[in-house]
Symmetry: C2
Subunit: 336 residues, 2 copies
DNA sequence: CCGCTCTTTGCAAGCGTGTGCAAAGCTTGC
DNA sequence: GCAAGCTTTGCACACGCTTGCAAAGAGCGG
C-alpha cells in the first residue's frame, strides 16, 4: 500500500532533457550549472516531487548530515529546554538531529549508540550526565566530532562546554552572608557529577573562608523527591540551617515544598533558598526561586557553531569553553 | 584529523577468508549462513571494529529504519514525557528517532520535514498540535507510515491515537457536583486543538445537563502564564466560580498560583481545581492537583507496535485508537 | 555409487548519488 | 579568424551494501 516509490534523479534528468549529473549539480551548493539548466531541472523536480536521497548522498560524501544527541533524563525541565534549543539551532544549520535516550540502564545505550555509528553520524553531542568514558572513546574512534556539555572527560579532541560551577557556589555564599545568614547548608544529589561537585566545593570553600558554619547532605537522583528527602534530613536536625543552596532547581522545589508544608517554615523569612538551572518552574509564584541560569541558548549556539566551523577542515578554535551562570534574583533570598 | 575511515564489509571478508556476501548475510537477520562462517565473520568484524553502514543498507532495502518525531513545545512537561517514552520504545524496537522541532514559526518546519523525507524515514509520529494538514499529506504521499497523537485529521491511512476528552470533561463535572460545587468554570487556551475543545464540550454539556452554572474563558498558549491570566479573568468577576477545570495541568498550576498568591483563595476549601495531563508537577506538594493522567507509556507502546506490525506488510488492524484518561485523585478537590 | 533434496556460498547486478576528467561551448582580446 | 581562457556538460566510476541466481557441497535412501 505504501508507495515507497521515490523519484530518482535519473527521472528528473529525463524529463528536463539533461544529464543526470546536471540534476545532481543543481542540488549541490557551489556546483557549476548554468542558470538555464538549473531552471529546467528545478521545474522538472517540482513537477515530479523529487527529493534528494540523503542516504545515497551520505554514502558518497561520507558525511551524513546527522548529529546525534545522547541524552538522559529527557523529560527533565533543564534537559528538555536544552534539547529544544539544540534541535532548533541544528535545523537552522541544515543538520538533522538523531535522539538517543540513555535512560534505560540495560544494554540499550550501547545498542543505540552503535546504531548512531552505523548511520555514520557526523557528530555527537552528549548531554548525559553518565560518566561513561567508553562512549566518548567509541565516538571519537569512529571519526565523529564530539561536544560534551557539563562533563569533564579528559580525552583530547571534543569541544567541552562547562559552567563556572565553583564560582557560582562561591557567589551564592556572599549573597547568603549579605542576607545575614549564619548557618549554611548544601543540598546535593549523590550522582557525583563534576558540575554538582564543583558547586558544592565552591560553596563549602567560600563558607569556610568567611568563617560560616556549613554542612552538606547528598541523596538520590537530582529530582524533586530527593529535595524532599534532603529537607527531612536538614530540618530534623537539632540546629537547622538558615540558608540552603540546592544543587539543582528540582531539588530546590522539593526542598521548599517539604520545608513549607511539612515543617511550616516560611521562606525567605526563616530560611533562604537558592537553586541552579533556572528551569521554568523556578519562576512560578509558588517558588519564585533565586537561582543561577544555565545559558541554554548560548550553550546550544556554541555547540552548533563549532560543528559548522569544523566542517571546513579548520579544526582550530577553542576546545574548551567556560560560560558563566548568571544569578537571577527572586524572592527566596532576603534582600541584603 | 577525523579518521572518517570506516571498515567496509570487503575488508572484513578478506580477513575472514570468505566472500563479501557472507559477511553481509551474517549481519542480516534470517539469512542463510553456516555457524562456522558466521563465527569467522563476527570474529573478524570484532577485531577490525566493523559497523554496518546503515546508509548503504537503507539505500538497497529502500527502508531506512528511521522514525521521525515531529513535535512542538518540546520543553513542555507533557511533551517531553511522551518524547521520553517514544524514544525509549523505538530504541527497543531497533529503530532510530529523528527529532523535528516545529517550534519556530518560520519556514523551518517545512524545511525540516522535507529533510526527513530526504532521509527516507520509514514513518513519522506527529505530536505537534499544529493542525497543518499539508504536513500530513506530504508524509503520506511519500510513502511514510504515520501516527497522529491527539489530532483529528481525516486523511485515511495514519494511525490515530486519541483520548476520551469529551467523557473526561463529563466525568469531572460529576466529581465537582459531588463536592458540592454549584458554579463551574472551564479555563482553556485559545489554541483550539481538538483535544482541548473536546474537554470543553464534554464539561459544558454535562454541567448543563445537571443544571449547573458554567462559564468558559479562553486565552493564549496552553502554559503557566495563560493560567495566571485566566485566573485574573475568573476571579475579578462579581460572582466567582467555586470549581474550575483547567484544560491542561500547566494552566492549572498557573491558575492555582494566581488564585492563592494574588487572591488569597484557599484550595480546595473555597474552590476546587482539576487539570489534565498529570505532569510531574501535578504531584508536587504545592499543587497536589487532581487531574486526568495521559497514558503516555501506552500511547508510545501503541504507536511503536503499530509501526512494527506494519512492516510485515499486513496493514490490517485498528487505524484509530481511543484510550481513556484515568482520573488521579489528589487534594485539589474536596472529598465528596 | 547414483540421484535427489536441502543448505551454503560466491558472483554480479543493482540502489541513488557525487565528482574527476575530458570534451564541448562560449567569451574575449588580438 | 584564431588561440587562449573560462564555464558548462556528459561520461563513467565509486560509495558500501543486499539479494536473485546458479553452482557447489552435504546428507541420505535406495
Amino acid at each position: 500500500m505504501a508507495p515507497k516509490d521515490f523519484i530518482s534523479a535519473l527521472e528528473v534528468a529525463r524529463r528536463a532533457g539533461v544529464s543526470r549529473s546536471a540534476v545532481s549539480r543543481t542540488f549541490t551548493p557551489g556546483a557549476s550549472v548554468s542558470a538555464q539548466t538549473r531552471k529546467k531541472v528545478t521545474d522538472a523536480a517540482e513537477a515530479l516531487g523529487y527529493h534528494v536521497n540523503e542516504l545515497a548522498r551520505g554514502l558518497m560524501r561520507n558525511q551524513s548530515g546527522i548529529v546525534c544527541l545522547i541524552v538522559s533524563d529527557v523529560a527533565t525541565p533543564y534537559r528538555s529546554a536544552l534539547l529544544r534549543e539544540l534541535t532548533g539551532k541544528l535545523q537552522n544549520a541544515g543538520k538533522v538531529a538523531m535522539l538517543i535516550n540513555t535512560d534505560r540502564s540495560d544494554g540499550s545505550v550501547d545498542r543505540a549508540l552503535s546504531q548512531a555509528i552505523r548511520y555514520r553520524a557526523d557528530a555527537s553531542i552528549i548531554l548525559s550526565g553518565l560518566p561513561d568514558a567508553s562512549i566518548v572513546r567509541l565516538c571519537l574512534k569512529n571519526g565523529q566530532r564530539l561536544v560534551l556539555i557539563n562533563r569533564d572527560d579528559d580525552e583530547p579532541g571534543p569541544l567541552k562546554i562547562n559552567l563556572d560551577d565553583f564560582e557560582a557556589g562561591e557567589r551564592i555564599v556572599t549573597a547568603f552572608a549579605r542576607a545575614g545568614c549564619k548557618s549554611l547548608a548544601f543540598a546535593n544529589s549523590d550522582a557525583g557529577t563534576p558540575s554538582l561537585m564543583g558547586r558544592e566545593r565552591g560553596f563549602v570553600a567560600a563558607a569556610r573562608r568567611l568563617g560560616l558554619e556549613v554542612s552538606v547532605e547528598r541523596h538520590g537522583w537530582t529530582g524533586y523527591e530527593a529535595g524532599c528527602v534532603l529537607a527531612q534530613r536538614f530540618l530534623t536536625r537539632p540546629r537547622r540551617p538558615d540558608a540552603v543552596f540546592c544543587a539543582t532547581d528540582l531539588l530546590a522545589c522539593g526542598f521548599m515544598d517539604a520545608a513549607r508544608h511539612q515543617f511550616g517554615i516560611s521562606i525567605p523569612d526563616q530560611m533562604c533558598i537558592a537553586g541552579f538551572d533556572d528551569i521554568e518552574q523556578a519562576s512560578w509564584l509558588s517558588y519564585d526561586l533565586t537561582t543561577f541560569a544555565q545559558p541554554v541558548a548560548e550553550i546550544a549556539a556554541r555547540a552548533v557553531a563549532w560543528l559548522s566551523i569544523g566542517e571546513n577542515g579548520n579544526d582550530s578554535g577553542q576546545h574548551s569553553v567556560r560560560l558563566t551562570a548568571e544569578l537571577v534574583w527572586r524572592s527566596s533570598i532576603r534582600a541584603g
